[in-house]
């Protein structure tokens, strides 16, 4: 693991890159982790940023279905080895297509894209919260926190024990990990937001910062809990995108103050995918 501090994301230099697949493994039923050789992206990616991936192999006149790229948070980055990892669950043709690739296949990636997590001026405890494969951006965040010698807690939720991923990775980075599953097959039974409720109850007025990623209903719940507790929360949202770099305008997010007052919708790809909880409306 690199000890050096990651560059500010204003330095992140995006581009389109042809990236060979190094590994592509089913790490849990229906959940895949892919490592790619992507030195340019690995060099400047900031935790919370994403890559937009053409899910069919790069070749002349690549397949037109799936047509658009699919956005994935960068899960891990190794600057020295020039590699990045992404993780996803098969939910449709794009994620299915991506799961079929063997090592050596070359995929087209655009990245690093978007605004990542705000890692300035920590004044209290740090808590990472994930629902399902929403865990994606947390390992790279954990690496950065570990490099800064900051300790953190991680609350991971999954449907069941089989679909849980990230516990070992975050623990290896020094994280204190708590688990919840919908069916109680690992850790506490119930939603991961219950773990957050308990944590907030035990850490009142703690000047904590929460980093959360997962499905929109979960993020909505996290946002409400944190706003009530007056705790800062950074949410990495999962949403449908077209281009990923601001030209299609297909990923509007409503500002908390209202579209009329702000004068525009935010775009998940440019203004996000990480938003402060108080800035957006669900």
């Amino acid at each position: 693991m690199s000890i050096s501090i990651m560059p500010e994301f204003s330095n992140a230099k995006k581009g389109i890159f042809s990236c060979p697949v190094l590994t592509n493994d089913e790490v849990a039923p229906g959940i895949f982790l892919m490592r790619l050789h992507a030195p340019e992206i690995a060099a400047t990616v900031w935790p919370g940023q994403f890559v937009n991936v053409k899910t069919s192999a790069e070749m002349p006149d690549a397949a037109c279905s799936p047509l658009l790229r699919r956005p994935f948070s960068v899960c891990e980055a190794n600057r020295r080895a020039g590699t990045i990892a992404i993780i996803w669950k098969i939910i449709g043709p794009g994620t299915f297509s991506l799961a079929q690739h063997q090592p050596g296949t070359v995929l087209s990636l655009i990245g690093p894209l978007g605004h990542g997590f705000d890692l300035s001026n920590f004044q209290g405890p740090i808590v990472l919260v994930a629902g399902g494969v929403g865990v994606a951006p947390l390992p790279i965040l954990g690496m950065e926190l570990a490099a800064r010698r900051l300790s953190f807690e991680a609350l991971l939720g999954a449907r069941n024990a089989d679909e849980l991923w990230g516990e070992r990775e975050l623990a290896a980075l020094g994280g204190n990990v708590q688990i919840s599953t919908d069916d109680g097959s690992r850790g506490e039974k119930g939603l991961v937001t219950n773990l957050l409720v308990q944590w907030l109850r035990h850490h009142k007025n703690s000047r904590a910062r929460i980093f959360a990623c997962g499905p929109m209903p979960m993020l909505n719940a996290v946002a409400k809990l944190c706003l009530e507790a007056r705790v800062e929360a950074q949410l990495a949202i999962e949403t449908m995108m077209g281009c990923g770099f601001g030209i299609c305008m297909g990923c509007p997010i409503t500002p908390a103050a209202g579209v009329e007052r702000i004068g525009r919708y935010y775009l998940a790809c440019l203004d996000g995918p990480v938003f402060s909880a108080e800035t957006i409306r669900f």
Binding site: K13, S65, L67, L68, M240, G250, V259
Partner: protein, 304 residues
């Protein structure tokens, strides 16, 4: 080596490969990582008299080899365009065509008058065919007499190119193209998006916020080709072909059907370098057949 340069009326374009309105922003978003040198023209995101915030989510839905959109003409408005976007566009060294969208003929005229006072624009593409806003624009290219009158109103105030952009959602696009020609247009561009929809069978709700949206992408290419072929046979002015072009082979089909130039649209969302790659492929195709320029392809479809 083949020359890709083309002329529409007396205006020269370095290549016949343009990027379509709404698929390339105002040029800024991709400028530092995409090479623009092969592009013939950049057609801006639609410009209206006032800023528009556009439609709420969901704005996009992908279908088989196609895309439904309902962006709702989100744009910065003509004053911000002139102040903030145009100075940058001028630095790119690529001809700029401003796409104008209005809710009434007065609004088209108002925007064109303001743009007339500013250098660095070679022509106006008139968005007579946006399906995603209530006030439409759509009727401007569904009724021939309105197309002619509206085209004439812009023609009368400018020497720049006037290019109405036509909808495929009509019975006879050739009638609309002829009306544009009669109104003084220098070219017509087509097709804008087809009316399309999709429904979520879990929630029974429409997939995009306006229920019916604009359908684009490689799935619509055969429809676009048929409309371009029909329009090109009906008018003497240039026809600019748009619809599902993903690579140079697609572009060659449009030239053979009668297009003088083509626009790359949805493909930019997948790879904003598509236009440059199409121009390269086209040059090689012409060279391999010892053709000197695009004119030797335009409208050269052969019948047995």
């Amino acid at each position: 080596m083949a020359v890709l340069q083309i002329k529409i009326r007396d205006i020269e374009f370095p290549t016949p490969i343009f990027v379509a309105s709404g698929t390339f922003g105002y040029g800024q978003e991709a400028a530092d990582w995409v090479d623009f040198k092969n592009l013939g023209a950049i057609i801006t995101k639609s410009i209206g008299p006032q800023p528009r915030i556009g439609n709420p989510a969901p704005r996009l839905f992908e279908t088989t080899a196609g895309l439904l959109n309902s962006i709702g003409l989100q744009n910065v408005g003509v004053q911000n365009f002139v102040a903030e976007k145009l100075p940058f566009l001028r630095t790119l060294g690529v001809p700029i065509i401003a796409n104008i969208a209005g809710r009434s003929l007065d609004e088209y005229v108002e925007v064109a008058r303001i743009l007339e006072a500013h250098e660095g624009i070679v022509g106006y593409e008139l968005n007579f065919s946006c399906p995603n806003v209530k006030e439409g624009g759509l009727e401007f290219s569904q009724k021939a007499e309105i197309t002619e009158r509206s085209t004439r109103a812009i023609r009368d105030l400018t020497k720049r190119l006037v290019i109405p952009k036509l909808t495929p959602n009509v019975a006879r696009v050739s009638e609309i193209a002829k009306a544009a020609e009669a109104g003084g247009a220098d070219a017509v561009s087509l097709i804008n998006t087809l009316a399309g929809m999709a429904i979520d069978i879990e929630t029974w709700q429409p997939r995009i916020n306006t229920i019916v949206g604009g359908y684009s992408g490689p799935a619509i290419k055969p429809v676009a080709l048929a409309k371009v072929y029909e329009a090109a046979r009906a008018v003497k002015i240039s026809v600019i072909g748009i619809g599902g072009i993903m690579n140079w082979q697609d572009a060659v089909e449009f030239f053979l059907a009668g297009a003088t130039a083509v626009q790359i649209g949805t493909a930019n969302f997948v790879d904003p370098r598509t236009g440059a790659a199409v121009a390269d492929g086209l040059r090689e195709y012409l060279d391999a057949r010892q053709l000197k320029n695009i004119d030797e392809l335009v409208g050269q479809i052969k019948f047995k």
